[in-house]
Symmetry: C2
Subunit: 451 residues, 2 copies
């Protein structure tokens, strides 16, 4: 009646490990040409016709008929009313989570978000000025997969960065609004909110319409249409990473109750059938215990079918020779979420080079990080933790270099710049530096200059 979960069992000592590991890592997002073409059409239409196009697509795709885009705006009072209407326990949970997320991101701003400058010995001032973005758009999925925690995780770092205006878009198919999403917007300091979604919402934010203001960056998760639209408007506006399926990798030394680890694997797998849950452990008996816990606990969970499909399709229990080898394999995977479920997490942490977020010790379930520990839950997926970072305050700031060269500095730097500029065949660069010297030398003709 409940067949055991056929999760892959691998061993690093097996001859075919590398082949099996490569297969496990393989994931490629199919690009759907039909979606690409429809998104291109929608974006062009929104750019050309603005509000009229947004209204039309909202009617068509969300079955939501409105007389104007202005009628789709949810005012601050309505957001606050949603918050006030929540059950007390839910409101308290939302506010506690927001407070902790805000506090973490304030620390992040202190650690890396400040302007700096120095003067060198010839009086030249050098530095970098850090400023918030003027206006950002937060895309929040609507319908079935409405995640109020995503509102917090996107809007709070923007707010902490000092973004002037945070504009949220959230589709409300057939007009159904999710109270927890609106309440989260109130808690997180969203300035304006529109019940629009899909590629048309991304287009409205990127190009601006008579009603929806053009933003400088768009963040937040969405379906294939939203992802395609974000890719296409990138350059006109900034975007965050396009996320792949969610992943967890658990490094276990066998000291954590097997039920806890099984539930952590489930908590990733329940997102979606393509989500990936992997457990690495040098203790074969522990892997057996987790496998048994999986079979025992799964039938109790409402999302058991999704979890089973995910674990059987993309999950794995991997027997390693040692914790050191497990760490090395984790670095090859560069997982989004990495749990170090060990009695000595601080021993292994220094060996871990690539991960979106590292959860240390048996008590640190990934789900605490998803909601309320403080760090962001928007993390690099599909191995991109090798080169990218969690969403943070820094994503809502940008830097400008500052240079103020004194007359003395220009006399020191001018000949260096001129020498290199002539070497590159850029005479105007050289002359701009030389004109500022106390005695302007005659112009040289560089070898590569076509006089």
């Amino acid at each position: 009646m409940n067949p055991p979960v056929a999760i892959r069992r691998l061993s690093t000592a097996a001859a075919d490990f590398e082949a099996a590991f490569a297969e496990l890592q393989h994931w490629s997002e199919a690009t759907d040409q039909a979606i690409e073409e429809r998104v291109a059409t929608i974006l062009a239409d929104v750019a050309a016709r603005g509000d009229a196009a947004v209204l039309e697509y909202t009617r068509r795709f969300d079955a939501l008929d409105a007389p104007s885009v202005a009628a789709l705006e949810i005012g601050p009072q309505a957001l606050q009313a949603a918050l006030d209407g929540l059950p007390a326990v839910q409101r308290a949970a939302l506010e506690s989570a927001a407070a902790r997320v805000r506090r973490y991101h304030e620390r992040q701003r202190e650690a890396c978000g400040r302007s700096w400058q120095y003067r060198d010995e010839d009086g030249t001032l050098l530095g970098q000025k850090v400023t918030p973005l003027d206006r950002v758009g937060i895309y929040v999925p609507g319908g079935k997969a409405a995640y109020p925690s995503s509102v917090l995780m996107n809007a709070i770092p923007a707010q902490v960065a000092g973004v002037g205006e945070i504009v949220m878009v959230v589709p409300t198919p057939r007009g159904e609004r999710n109270a927890l999403v609106l309440a989260a917007a109130a808690v997180a300091g969203v300035h304006r909110a529109f019940t629009i979604g899909g590629a048309q919402a991304v287009g409205a934010l990127a190009h601006g319409t008579a009603t929806v203001p053009a933003v400088d960056k768009i963040t937040g998760p969405g379906n294939a249409y939203v992802a395609s639209a974000k890719r296409r408007v990138f350059g006109r506006v900034g975007i965050d990473m396009i996320a792949g399926p969610s992943e967890i990798l658990v490094l276990a030394d066998g000291s954590t109750p097997a039920d806890w680890v099984a539930m952590d694997l489930f908590s990733q797998a329940e997102h979606d059938e393509l989500a990936q849950s992997i457990l690495l452990c040098p203790d074969a008996a522990y892997l057996d215990a987790v496998a048994a816990a999986i079979d025992r606990l799964l039938p109790m969970l409402p999302r058991r079918d999704v979890i089973r499909a995910s674990l059987e399709g993309r999950g794995a229990l991997v027997h390693t020779r040692s914790m050191e080898e497990a760490c090395a394999i984790s670095n090859r995977i560069a997982p989004e979420h990495l749990e170090v479920s060990s009695a000595e997490p601080q021993r292994w942490e220094p060996l871990l080079r690539h991960a979106g977020a590292i959860f240390l010790g048996a008590y640190t379930s990934e789900s605490l990080g998803d909601y309320c520990a403080g760090p962001n839950h928007v993390l690099p997926t599909s191995g991109t933790a090798r080169f990218s970072s969690p969403l943070g305050v820094y994503d809502f700031q940008k830097r400008s270099s500052l240079i103020e060269v004194s007359a003395a500095g220009a006399a020191t730097l001018g000949p260096i710049a001129a020498e290199l500029a002539y070497g590159e065949g850029l005479q105007a660069h050289a002359r701009a530096a030389e004109l500022r010297l106390p005695a302007v030398p005659p112009a040289r003709v560089s070898p590569t200059g076509a006089a």
Copy 2:
């Protein structure tokens, strides 16, 4: 014989200013479908056939025949020999520039590149660990537009970040090597160098071949093939921004010698006919003086034809009502290079919100910044300074969140996480938190869970 340069003259007081300004800002990169298709083919071929494909395309596109990709590697001794072979003045200029760029980026690492953590009142540890990328690829254009300064500006921040291996690729059409480029690689700490270029080099770095190691990120400028290839491999590896034409905006109060400002406008215009040079000034007589300087100085410059085409096609001298208005217009443009050529640069700097680099005062020519002041010359173009930053140490580092929740912390955070997880219909998330509570409550069925 030398007709005056027909540079656009605008005035913010004119009725048609907004229309003229919109036209001035308009620039869109045409996507060449033929290039896109050839690049897709080349990348797929390099991914499938590795070294053999790289060799074949290098033979075809660079007229460079080699027995193996290994034969295209330039060893560290050859890089050092290029440095040793430079004229003394050129070598000194290169080394001085590198030292200043290194020093600036070391300050940058100190200011924003360090790990941090804190413990909250329930003993939970929170923080962020900053680590360098393992391996990066630096693309350096070859042939006519060989810029050794680009080698410094890409490789030094990577080196300062602590990147384990910096791999340079530079095409050498017909085997012609640029000694200054190789010397710059030696100075900047490049670990390996290959004389390959184009989409095939980007493909080799992204996928790895038997000889060229796969990297985690690719930075550096290139032609349309390189830009297209970088866009396509993005996701598998990180990339820097795809640069548009270079731009300078000069805010002048009329106190800088007109010749200096004219030469600064030239130094941008000489890059390329699509480069953009704009001067904003509230003093009409000063604009006339700069226009006269342009006509007088242009004939002396070897690259005068490119400069003229750039100034006439995309340049402008704009008369503003005030310096304050000039600053506001500058913020609308968000220029790559922004010179504040004023006797009071510190008065205007706080008004300037968006720019890649800000050059303060008459002595700070943009060309000093291009080569040797210290800050990076890889800057956001085409208005992207609204949301992005100069290339820096931070581009060669990534961050991982750290969370270690104590038993007491799990007891505090668990109910919050569970409440929100049930609210989102994610029961496994809720149970993973609840299993870690001192007294595990019975499971709830969330309203959206399909039990």
